[in-house]
Symmetry: C2
Subunit: 334 residues, 2 copies
C-alpha cells in the first residue's frame, strides 16, 4: 500500500449555508423540528428565505466542513461534491481551496443552482436546517476520481449523500476503490431523520463490512437501532462490528469497538453560539487522529477540541487555526 | 413640520462584505494600509479574492450598516443605495428588509455586479477594506425619492459616496429636500484616505452649512484639518459650527458643539474580534438618540453600546437585538 497523500477524503453534498438567528416561535409557526435537517424545493426555499431574518452566508456541507477542519488541524484533505458554476458555487470553491483542501470536482454548467441550506439558530444555540439540494443532485459515479480515493487514508461519506439518487452509486464506486487500495471507509449517519429514511441501507452497509468506521450522535444511533435506550443501541452496535464513535453533545463522546466502550469528555467552552457543524468538526479531529495512528482517546480529544471551536461562533467553518488550539491542549499534528 | 416616519435615512454604497481573517504579513506583501479602505477594480478584486483565505459573506455598506443598527435599536430606518439584480444584490436586499428597514431603490438590471468589499481582519481585530464599487456607480439623483427624505428626521450620508461620480448630485438633491422640509443632514467622513481625496469638498459642506451633524473618528478629523494634533482639530471644528461627534476607539467619543466638548467613555467588551462596522454602529446609536431628543451624553452612550456589540463578532450587522442591550444599560427606546 502506497503512503497516503490525503489523510481524509470527504464525499458529500457541496452546500452553502445561509444562517440566521431566530426565536423558537418561528420554528413552531413554520412547523420545523428543532435540530433536524429537512429537504426543501426551490419554491419552499424562496418562501422560507423571505420570512427569515438577516443572514450570514458561509460555505458548509457536512463532509466538506469535516475536510476543511482536517486541513485547519494541519492534516491534508480532499473533497468530492457538486456545485453549479454560479456565484455561490464560486464562493464554495474558493473557501474550500483557500484552506488547502484538494477540490477538483467539475461544477455543473447548467440546471439547478448551487445547493443552499437555510439554517435557523435559536437562542439555545441549536440549529435547524432546511436544505435545497440543487446541483448536488448531479453528483454521480463519473465524479469519483480513482486516483484521489486511492491516495486517501480514509474515505469519509455523509449519510445525507443518500438523498440525491446517483450519489449512492458514486459512494459504492468510491468505497470499492478505497478497499481495493487497502484504505478505510467511514460514514456519518448525519441526522436521525436521515436514518429514518435509509435505515435498512445503512444497517446493510455496516453488516456487509462496507463501513470500517461509523460516526453518529446518540439520537442517530438510537434511530438506527430503533431504541430509546442508549446502552442498548451501543450493545447492538458492538455486535455488528465496525469501530464507531458516538457524540453526546456536552456529555462528550464514546468510542466503541470490539475491545470495549471508552468515554471521552467534551472540551470546555466559554459561550455556546451556534451548534452548526459540531458533529462535522468532531469528525475532523477523530478521523485525522485515526489516520495518524492516534489511540481512540486522543483521536476523540482532537475531535472535541475542533467541535468546541466551531460552536462558539456562527457557521461550520473554523475561524481559528485548529492546529494551534490542538497544540495548546498538548496534541501536536506534524 | 410633519412628524417623521423614519428616524434615520441612510444614503450610501450598497455593498456586500466578503470577510476573511488574515495575518499582518498578508497586508504587507499586498502593500495594503491597515485600517484603511481602498478602491479596486474587477480584475484586482478577482486577484485579491484568489489569494485570500476562506471568507464569510455578510451584507455591509457603511450607511446601510448604520440604518440596520437603528432598526435593531428599535428605531425606524430607511436606505437609498444601488445593487445589481444578482445573487449578492438579492442577499443585500433581503438582509436590510428583513430587519425592517425601508429599502426601495430600483436595482440595476445590467452592467456591473453588486458591489463587494473584501475585508481582511488581522489578529488585532483591525479591518482593512478593498472595495469594488460595481453597481454603486449607477446611483444618481433619480434614485432620491423626495417623500422618503421629507419623512426622515435625519438624512445621513457616508463620505464614501463621493467616490461614485453621480452620487454627489444625488447627495445635493437629498440634502436640499431635507433642509426644505426642516430636517437635519448628517455626514460621516468615512475614512482618512477618503478625506484626503475630497478634503476641500467636505470642508465646503461644513462651512456652507450643508451639514448639521458631522461624524468622524480622530484620524479622519485630523486629516480634515491636516493636523497631527487632536485638540487643534477639535478647535478648528468648533470654529466652523456643526455639531460633531468624534470616536476614539477604546478611548470613547467626544461630542463637540458651540457649548463645548464632552467626553463619553467606550462600552466595555469581553473580546475584540473584528472592528468592521464599529463607526457605523456608533453612528446608529448616536443618530437615533439625537433623532429622539436624547442629550449628547445618552446619544453617545447608545452609540457606544451598539459599537461594542458589533466588534465582538465577524461583520458589521448586529447578531443580538441592540434594543435589548440598550435596555440592559438603562436606555429605553420606545
Amino acid at each position: 500500500m502506497a503512503s497516503s497523500k490525503y489523510d481524509v477524503l470527504g464525499i458529500g453534498n457541496a452546500i452553502v449555508d445561509v444562517i440566521a438567528f431566530t426565536e423558537d416561535d418561528f420554528l413552531l409557526s413554520h412547523d420545523l423540528a428543532k435540530g433536524s435537517m429537512r429537504l426543501i424545493d426551490e419554491a419552499q426555499a424562496e418562501k422560507l428565505y423571505q420570512s427569515m431574518g438577516p443572514a450570514t452566508i458561509i460555505s458548509g456541507g457536512s463532509a466538506a466542513n469535516t475536510v476543511v477542519g482536517v486541513a485547519s488541524l494541519g492534516g491534508s484533505g480532499s473533497f468530492i461534491g457538486k456545485v453549479r458554476n454560479d456565484t455561490l458555487g464560486q464562493a464554495f470553491t474558493h473557501d474550500i481551496r483557500a484552506i488547502g483542501v484538494h477540490f477538483e470536482t467539475k461544477p455543473a454548467d447548467k440546471g439547478l443552482a448551487t445547493a443552499r441550506s437555510f439554517i435557523l439558530v435559536t437562542p439555545d444555540g441549536e440549529r435547524t436546517m432546511n436544505t435545497f439540494l440543487g446541483a448536488c443532485l448531479y453528483l454521480g459515479p463519473d465524479d469519483i476520481d480513482p486516483a484521489t480515493v486511492e491516495a486517501s487514508e480514509i474515505s469519509y461519506f455523509e449519510g445525507y449523500l443518500w438523498d440525491p439518487e446517483d450519489a449512492k452509486i458514486a459512494f459504492r464506486k468510491a468505497a470499492s476503490i478505497a478497499h481495493a487500495a487497502g484504505r478505510k471507509v467511514a460514514l456519518t449517519l448525519s441526522d436521525s431523520f436521515c436514518v429514518d429514511r435509509y435505515r435498512d441501507e445503512f444497517r446493510a452497509l455496516i453488516t456487509d463490512c462496507t463501513i470500517d468506521i461509523l460516526l453518529a450522535n446518540e439520537h442517530e444511533l438510537k434511530s438506527l437501532y430503533t431504541t430509546s435506550d442508549f446502552d442498548s443501541a451501543v450493545d447492538a452496535l458492538r455486535n455488528e462490528g465496525p469501530m464507531a464513535v458516538v457524540t453526546r453533545s456536552a456529555a462528550g463522546s464514546v468510542v466503541v469497538d470490539r475491545n470495549g466502550v471508552q468515554a471521552i469528555p467534551a472540551q470546555p467552552i466559554d459561550r455556546l453560539v451556534d451548534t452548526t457543524g459540531a458533529g462535522d468538526l468532531f469528525a475532523s479531529g477523530f478521523l485525522l487522529g485515526h489516520a495518524r495512528g492516534f489511540d481512540h482517546r486522543d483521536a476523540a480529544r482532537l475531535g472535541a477540541i475542533a467541535a468546541a471551536e466551531i460552536i462558539q461562533h456562527i457557521g461550520a467553518r473554523p475561524e481559528a487555526r485548529l492546529r494551534d488550539l490542538a497544540a495548546e491542549s498538548g496534541i501536536t499534528i506534524s
